[in-house]
């Protein structure tokens, strides 16, 4: 079982202090607690009693601590009051006497470059059915030109992916070129074409790498990927991590290599890799299978699949869902979209606004228009599909915490906006999903903080 370490935070307040709150605050009763949600700042706290709610309302109405203290009549109320002060301060839900910042949206500007659809593997679930390269793939000079343009647009992050990006002979040089321009570089690879030289070279120029391991051992990985380089790939993960690169292992199981032993065996793999690494390795499990080369799960099958994957997560850490949830919701950071509108460049120069190329429409080609044109188009689409502009999300108190879900799977335009004339609607939200969200907010809060 994974034990978490907690740190103690101490703070001193003056009785003449007042709290200032950034957003409109709404209360939602859920089971035996109150959720106080600051809509515009995507922040929330969990109150244990009606008394705490009443006190918070006094603070919202501008009363200072001294005023509230005089209303307290017994010890129980006093301890609930002190707890409330800690709760407010812990998540910067309210600031002392003045507002520190307003609406805060992540400022990273990213592009993703699919360098080739060529791949040395033929994984059964590959959502791109990667294998052979496309006709007329972009050349080294063209990619360099794209990165130059991205620099002019104040870009910050570049992801190189494929297919398998290492199939391109210019790959290492392109990574260095991106680094020299000052970008944060991330790469996604199957790991099979890496050797010590390439690992050492890349480690100098990349921030992050994600390597796919689709099983818990060589045989189980072979079932999905048809490749026996398991040990080599595991060693590549360890090498990158120990060279200071933030390293992710992405694992997509299929029904063929999921069995009763999977969670125990996968835990062994996680523990083995972590025992060999001085730095952190992050394991990502696919929870929903997209249509792939030979795999196309029905909704019902995907539900079953999801449950099996959750069992693996649960075995390794029963609280992982809640830890992820609160980590993905930084204090006062707004999520108003799933990321739809981000520029994805396919190897032939075609532009998409999400990496699920086969589910989307192409918005043009980088050989015909400047990158600036597509960045602006993407921003326009991102805004158009933002929670602020769609029904029923725009009226929801939780919109910036939820983000609205996937613009392909959860919306009536299914990721295709070009000839879409109707009003954009989120179609999958219901009370069950909202309650799940509330529960995640409460449980993650209660797990993360101790008052």
């Amino acid at each position: 079982m994974w034990e978490m370490d907690y740190k103690l935070i101490k703070k001193e307040l003056s009785i003449y202090d007042k709290f200032v709150f950034n957003g409109n605050i709404k209360f939602h009763k859920y089971k035996n607690v109150w959720l106080a949600v600051s809509i515009e700042t995507a922040n929330w706290i969990v109150l244990k009693s009606l008394f705490q709610k009443r006190i918070l309302i006094l603070f919202i109405n501008g009363k200072n601590i001294d005023f509230v203290l005089k209303k307290i009549s017994n010890e129980k109320e006093h301890s609930e009051f002190i707890e409330l002060l800690s709760i407010i301060c812990s998540r910067n839900f309210g600031y002392i006497n003045k507002i520190k910042h307003t609406k805060n949206i992540k400022k990273e500007k990213k592009i993703s470059c699919c360098l080739t659809t060529s791949c040395n593997l033929r994984c059964k679930h590959c959502y791109m059915s990667a294998g052979n390269e496309l006709k007329n793939e972009l050349k080294f000079e063209e990619w360099k030109n794209i990165l130059d343009q991205f620099k002019e647009e104040n870009g910050t992050h570049v992801t190189f992916t494929g297919g398998e990006p290492l199939m391109k002979t210019f790959f290492l040089d392109l990574v260095k070129y991106a680094y020299d321009l000052g970008f944060h570089v991330a790469i996604l690879s199957n790991g099979t074409l890496l050797d010590e030289y390439k690992i050492s070279f890349l480690s100098r120029y990349i921030d992050k790498i994600q390597i796919s391991i689709d099983g818990f051992d060589a045989r189980s990985n072979y079932i999905t990927r048809g490749n026996m380089d398991f040990d080599k790939i595991v060693n590549a993960v360890i090498s990158f991590s120990n060279k200071g690169v933030i390293t992710y292992v992405a694992t997509t199981f299929t029904f063929e290599n999921l069995n009763n032993k999977t969670s125990i065996e996968y835990e062994k793999l996680v523990n083995y890799i972590n025992s060999k690494c001085n730095n952190k390795v992050i394991f990502r499990l696919t929870k929903k299978m997209l249509k792939g080369r030979y795999i196309n799960y029905s909704e019902k099958e995907n539900e079953k699949y999801n449950n099996k994957i959750l069992k693996i997560e649960n075995k390794i850490n029963p609280n992982s869902f809640y830890i992820n949830f609160i980590r993905d919701h930084n204090k006062n950071v707004v999520t108003d979209n799933c990321g739809f509108g981000g520029v994805e460049i396919l190897s032939n120069g075609n532009i998409y606004f999400c990496n699920r190329f086969s589910d989307l429409e192409c918005y043009g080609n980088i050989r015909k228009n400047k990158l600036k044109y597509f960045i602006e188009k993407g921003e326009e689409i991102n805004k158009k599909t933002s929670c602020d502009n769609i029904e029923p999300c725009k009226k929801c108190d939780f919109k910036y915490i939820c983000g609205g879900g996937c613009r392909i799977d959860d919306f009536n335009f299914n990721g295709k906006l070009k000839n879409f004339k109707k009003e954009i609607l989120q179609t999958t939200c219901n009370s069950k999903i909202k309650n799940k969200l509330k529960e995640s907010m409460i449980k993650s809060f209660e797990y993360y903080y101790k008052f």
């Binding site: 994974w2 978490m4 370490d5 907690y6 740190k7 103690l8 935070i9 703070k11 001193e12 307040l13 003056s14 009785i15 003449y16 002190i82 800690s86 709760i87 301060c89 812990s90 993703s112 959502y127 996604l188 992405a250 996680v270 972590n274 952190k280 992050i282 990502r284 499990l285 696919t286 929870k287 929903k288 997209l290 850490n317 992982s320 869902f321 992820n324 949830f325 980590r327 993905d328 919701h329 999520t335 799933c338 990321g339 981000g342 990496n355 915490i401 939820c402 983000g403 879900g405 996937c406 959860d410 999958t428 939200c429 909202k434 969200l437 797990y447 993360y448 903080y449 101790k450 008052f451």
Partner: protein, 40 residues
């Protein structure tokens, strides 16, 4: 004038430990709302 002070404290998980966690993936790790939102 001496101001009356109130001392408060709480505990929270050390962030540096969190990254050791296993995390969930949606949309192959590209998705900006990794593991959040609905439908997951």
């Amino acid at each position: 004038m001496k101001t009356k002070k109130l001392k408060i404290n709480w505990e929270e998980i050390k962030l540096d430990k969190i990254d050791n966690e296993i995390i969930s993936m949606y949309c192959f790790g590209h998705c900006h709302v990794n593991n959040v939102g609905n439908g997951l």
